[in-house]
């Protein structure tokens, strides 16, 4: 459950009709009202949805935004730590009902041309190693060209791809999965497996994002064990570790007044998993504070939900990256379940310098015991560049 802001930015900048300036991030998060206007014609996420698998692994084109989001905390034989990210975003540029043109040349209204598909895909991939970080992006349209699509996703056998970047079932079953990407002399190839079930986030899979009740459909597979190779500047590094897959779709992630968010996915040494997010209100917003949510997932997959009042974030130290002031070290207190954790990035500069830039990286979790120590991934979006 991540990167919603990123997608929101994409929507704002590229897909809405209003002009978007170079300070896209700040403006985008600064005026999300436009997002709300474009929702007509799309399906809305509402509580009470019955998930059904494997169908729900496939795209939901009636919803505006959707993603397949994989992060992995990995180690090589020498004990060095690495991070890996693979994400496929799907964005519906227009509702299906508007796909025939109204004001353009009549002759273009014939349906079926794969290039004219309104489903646009954007893929991000990144690797973090002890000395560095590299992130990449690609785009493609989702139409079917005589049996082949440049980008897309399907349920059975499961596959999500853009060009040769892919996440797909190794066999007929959903698990194990294969994830791979390659860009120049950087890439990875990971095999992901688990004997545990999927976890429905929020309220039976409906994840509220705003006090007004809007939200998304969201499920995760946080128990993946990963094994494979990273290729860093042409060097192959065999690695293994833990991975977390998020699936989320909605037509409306942000509400006016929400400016960005911080997202944590933690693998604790105790075998527990914790997901936390904080949707930050904009400074000039009149809305009543940040919207926070979390979940503790026991090794057996039992979830305990944490609401805004049960989560305390404290930024201990800031770092300056790409003209932005970003949190560098955090203290997180979850008094209800008696946890206090320090969060430190594996490497400060894990900035995703893509079109819609954000910080996404591997982190270290430290605390007094196995229930407050471990590894994880953090995403921070919506921190505007400061001009001075």
């Amino acid at each position: 459950m991540k990167a919603a802001v990123v997608v929101a930015l994409l929507l704002f900048c590229g897909l809405t009709i209003a002009a978007c300036s170079q300070e896209s991030e700040s403006q985008a998060t600064g005026d999300v009202a436009l997002l709300a206007q474009g929702m007509e014609g799309f399906s809305q996420a509402v509580p009470g949805y019955e998930f059904s698998f494997p169908q729900d692994h496939a795209p939901h084109p009636d919803f505006r935004i959707e993603w397949w989001y994989l992060t992995a905390n990995l180690q090589d034989a020498g004990g060095e730590h690495y991070g890996a990210q693979w994400t496929l975003f799907r964005i519906a540029m227009q509702p299906a009902s508007e796909q025939s043109m109204t004001n353009g040349p009549e002759t273009i209204s014939q349906p079926g041309n794969p290039w004219l598909s309104k489903q646009v895909f954007m893929a991000h991939a990144a690797i973090t190693w002890p000395q560095g970080h590299a992130g990449f992006q690609r785009y493609a349209r989702g139409g079917d060209h005589d049996g082949v699509a440049q980008a897309g996703a399907q349920a059975e056998p499961f596959a999500a791809w853009l060009d040769d970047w892919s996440l797909h079932s190794a066999g007929d079953e959903w698990l194990p999965l294969q994830a791979k990407f390659r860009e120049g002399d950087t890439g990875f190839q990971l095999r992901l497996d688990s004997d545990q079930a999927l976890v429905l986030q929020g309220e039976s899979g409906f994840s509220q994002k705003h006090s007004s009740g809007s939200g998304s459909y969201y499920y995760s597979q946080p128990f993946l064990l990963a094994e494979g190779n990273l290729t860093i500047n042409g060097q192959e590094v065999p690695v293994s570790g833990q991975a977390w897959l998020d699936r989320e779709w909605s037509s409306q992630f942000l509400q006016p007044g929400q400016g960005g968010w911080d997202w944590f996915a933690l693998h604790l040494d105790s075998g527990e998993k914790i997901m936390l997010f904080r949707l930050r209100k904009k400074q000039d917003s009149a809305s009543n504070g940040d919207f926070q949510h979390g979940v503790l997932i026991s090794p057996a997959g039992v979830t305990t939900r944490l609401d805004s009042r049960q989560i305390e974030f404290e930024v201990l130290e800031y770092m300056r990256l790409h003209d932005r002031r970003l949190p560098a070290r955090w203290r997180i207190k979850l008094p209800e379940i008696g946890r206090e954790m320090l969060i430190t990035p594996l490497l400060e500069d894990q900035w995703m310098d893509v079109d819609f830039a954000y910080w996404e990286g591997a982190i270290e979790v430290s605390g007094s015991n196995a229930e407050t120590s471990g590894r994880g991934y953090l995403e921070m979006t919506g921190y505007p560049p400061e001009s001075d």
């Binding site: 227009q94 353009g104 040349p105 273009i108 005589d146 082949v148 120049g184």
Partner: protein
């Protein structure tokens, strides 16, 4: 300082004279600068190579089957295999409802590489047309507008101006299809091309599933090597170096442009001389007084040179500004010619061009220096103590004209020598320049002879006529240079018109001969399907396939060159359509049996393949002799023609790029065309009849020469302005003559008639001389310049129709120039006029 002020004050009293000198310098510079900048801009475009949205492909992938499209699935499969530095491109030529032929490029904007620091997010959305702020990355319009209804057609603002398409309009094609709304896009190097989404273009042109080529962008060597290795058999890798170098291809064209600029420069130099001569003659008295007052010649010379330097600098700067503006205005026209003639594209800048001020200014300075030499020497060496007599002046004028005639005659001899021997473009252009200059230099002496002859024919009792002729000879002294300038412009105009007219006629009859099929199909149809259908529907009609490919070979001159190879269908009509200008014995029989090749005139003239020489066609065929040479107008590449059978045995994998349908005239061809279109779902532009193809061919021809004609007309126009200036100045000088006539009792009306008759006569005599020289120039262009520049030759058709136009223009501008100062003159009282003479 006082001296400077005294001399400069002349221009304060006669501002028009300063203006005329400036005009001469500006005229010399404008077209020179314009053509230099156009050529520089084109060269810059060539050196960056063909770009799409500022991205530079390192190679392209095309179909191995020749000029056919690639199923887009193959591209998608390559992407899925991990070759991500690729982008699809669909090229379509269509005609608008205005009959304009335009090239549309269909791209997938999401696959295009983007310059660093220019994220997709900065593809800010619609409503930022033309790049309000070209320095800002945010000036790029949003990619969304390209791929979302109502879609968009991106074009450079200059191209849109040329097409006359306002922003937001939806241009209509010949077949009634509407294009997406037009969006101007500055600074993307679009040049002549129009960009839209590949899916939209597929829909508009019924080319679903087709792409023309795959662009390969920069990637690691390993990745590019892997791509080459894994390319499916049906696809072919094309290095950009394998293609013709556009700079080399278009060299002749740019040289011709430069020659035009130089011509205008020469015209300007004549006018500079003219203006300087007057300004000095006018100041003879002043200079004499200064000399008497003790100023040395050296001091005078220094100040006069300083004065000239100021004029040259100001005039050159003005000329540069105007020339730069002219270049920007003409570039789309040049781009159109380059696109249609050579298939190469240049970018149109969206701001004034800069750079290159040095060369025109140095040239102007040298020319002005040479111009001033004679008048200045004359002014400084003048006897200090006596006023010059008009007889002395006339003597010098007559001597000068004799010397000019000698130089002119020498140049004409040189032109003849060059015409016979020239085998390079430089020599051909030298021949042309010698002819033009020679003609101009001979003019005054020839006019003198003509006037002399006329005066001998006039009975001595016709006093006024005799006076008119005698005075006209006298007038030749000051007017000669101006007349030479206009003659130069008129000769080149007449020559070019004749040449282009002849060329057009030659092309027309050549097209009629070569277009033997009644209907042409350019679609990628199966030959068998069409043949089967024809057997059922129109048994009298048969089908002939067109095969072409390209190959890099070494020509006899030892240079690697790209030749186009085309197959000639094995049918009498096609074989008869090829007329050989040079051939070996039994050429056609040997050709039919596949025992040799024909080469195009260009291949013969420029690449030097002579009949009888052997060429390596393909591995299977071995060495084959050149059997003959045929004309191939309009093709900027050398071509070999072989029999269809030979072609198929050499390149069995290449499929036809089009078909021709032939049959007896009784066939209902229009009906057949309609049935073909509906049976095979052909677009209007995929099935063309003979007449339409002819019309297209000739319209391409006309457009090709539109820039040449425009430049030529401009030369004439600026010359007219120069003539106007020069004649006004001369006439102003001759006010005393008018005074004399008034004193002798001539009425205003009589004087006016005499004046107009006099100048009209001079103009008429000029035209009489322009015609033979113009025709001679046309011959040089047709028989000397074009063959070495393009490899085409054609017979000259004498052209008369433009002469009355030119005569009207010449006499008109002369008379207008005379009329204005005369109005003042006619109103003046004899007393006033006589007083002026006494000054």
């Amino acid at each position: 300082m006082l001296l400077t002020r005294t001399l400069f004050s002349h221009y304060r009293r006669h501002p028009v004279q300063g203006l005329f000198l400036l005009t001469g310098i500006v005229i010399a510079n404008v077209l020179l600068v314009g053509t230099l900048l156009i050529n520089a801009q084109a060269r810059a475009s060539y050196s960056t190579g063909e770009q799409v949205l500022r991205a530079q492909p390192v190679a392209t992938i095309v179909s191995r089957e020749g000029a056919r499209s690639i199923p887009e699935r193959k591209y998608i499969v390559l992407r899925r295999q991990g070759f991500a530095s690729l982008a699809p491109l669909l090229r379509r030529f269509v005609r608008t409802d205005q009959g304009e032929s335009i090239e549309l490029l269909g791209i997938d904007v999401l696959a295009m590489p983007r310059p660093e620091q220019e994220p997709l997010g900065n593809f800010s959305s619609a409503g930022n047309p033309g790049g309000a702020d070209p320095d800002s990355d945010a000036a790029r319009p949003g990619f969304a507008e390209l791929i979302l209804p109502p879609y968009a057609l991106w074009a450079s603002p200059a191209r849109l101006d040329q097409l006359g398409w306002p922003q937001g309009s939806m241009p209509v094609l010949e077949n009634g299809t509407k294009l997406p709304p037009v969006v101007p896009l500055a600074d993307e190097g679009l040049g002549h091309r129009l960009l839209l989404d590949i899916g939209v273009l597929q829909m508009l042109t019924s080319s679903a599933d087709e792409i023309s080529e795959i662009l390969v962008f920069e990637d690691s060597d390993v990745a590019l090597e892997a791509l080459r290795a894994q390319l499916p058999d049906e696809l072919k890798w094309v290095d950009p170096s394998a293609d013709l170098d556009p700079a080399e291809l278009t060299r002749s064209f740019h040289l011709n442009l430069a020659a035009m600029g130089l011509l205008a420069f020469v015209v300007g130099v004549f006018l500079i001389y003219n203006a300087l001569a007057f300004s000095y003659t006018d100041r003879h008295e002043l200079l004499r007084k200064l000399r008497v007052a003790g100023v040395t010649r050296g001091e005078l010379a220094r100040v006069l040179v300083l004065e000239l330097v100021v004029f040259v600098i100001v005039g050159s700067l003005l000329g540069f500004a105007l020339g730069s503006w002219l270049a920007v205005t003409l570039l789309p026209g040049v781009g159109q010619t380059l696109a249609q003639l050579y298939g190469v594209y240049i970018a149109y800048p969206d701001s004034l061009l800069s750079g290159g001020l040095g060369l025109p200014m140095i040239m102007t300075a040298i020319a002005a220096g040479l111009c001033v030499l004679f008048p200045m020497r004359e002014a400084l060496n003048m006897p200090v103590l006596e006023r010059q007599s008009s007889g002395w002046q006339r003597m010098t004028a007559a001597n000068r004209d004799k010397r000019l005639f000698q130089s002119g005659a020498a140049l004409l001899v040189l032109a003849v020598v060059l015409a016979v021997t020239s085998n390079t473009l430089w020599m051909a252009l030298g021949c042309m320049a010698s002819l033009l200059l020679g003609a101009a230099l001979c003019l005054p002496a020839l006019l003198r002879v003509l006037l002399g002859a006329a005066s001998r024919l006039v009975p001595s009792t016709w006093a006024r006529t005799s006076w008119l002729l005698a005075d006209s000879r006298y007038l030749l002294g000051p007017a000669a240079l101006a007349l030479m300038a206009i003659t130069l412009a008129l000769v080149s105009n007449g020559g070019l018109n004749t040449m282009i007219g002849s060329f057009r006629q030659a092309t027309d009859s050549w097209l009629q001969q070569r277009l033997v099929a009644e209907i042409y199909l350019t679609s990628e149809l199966s030959e068998t399907r069409v043949r089967d259908w024809l057997e059922q529907q129109a048994p009298a009609v048969s089908i002939a396939a067109r095969y072409t490919t390209r190959k890099t070979v070494q020509n006899p001159a030892g240079v690697n060159t790209m030749v186009e190879i085309t197959g000639l269908p094995d049918r009498a009509q096609f074989k008869d359509s090829v007329e050989l200008m040079r051939k070996v014995d039994a050429a056609k029989a040997a050709f039919g049996s596949g025992l040799g090749v024909f080469v195009s005139e260009r291949a013969w003239r420029l690449d030097e393949w002579q009949p009888g020489q052997e060429v390596q066609l393909c591995a299977g065929a071995g060495a084959l002799p050149v059997l003959g040479v045929y004309r191939d107008y309009g093709n900027p590449q050398s071509q070999w023609m072989i029999s269809e059978k030979l072609f198929k045995s050499c390149w069995p994998e290449i499929r036809p790029s089009g078909f021709g349908l032939i049959g007896p005239p009784e066939v209902d061809w229009d009906g057949l065309r309609a049935r073909l279109a509906s049976e095979f779902e052909l677009e209007d532009n995929e099935v063309i009849n003979q007449q339409e193809l002819m019309a297209v061919g000739l319209s391409v021809f006309d457009r090709t020469f539109s820039v040449t004609l425009a430049l030529n007309a401009l030369t004439l126009l600026v010359s007219s302005i120069g003539i106007f200036c020069a004649v006004s100045a001369i006439h102003h000088h001759r006010l005393p003559q008018q005074a004399l006539l008034t004193a002798l009792g001539l009425t205003q009306r009589e004087r006016a008639t005499l004046l107009l008759l006099q100048w009209g006569l001079l103009g008429l005599f000029c035209i009489v001389l322009v015609w033979p020289f113009g025709s001679l120039l046309a011959w040089v262009l047709a028989a000397v310049v074009t063959p070495v520049a393009f490899g085409w030759s054609f017979a000259l058709q004498p052209e008369w129709s433009y002469l009355p136009m030119l005569a009207l223009l010449a006499v008109g501008s002369l008379l207008l120039a005379v009329l204005l100062p005369s109005l003042q003159l006619l109103r003046a009282s004899p007393g006033q006029l006589l007083r002026e003479r006494a000054v």
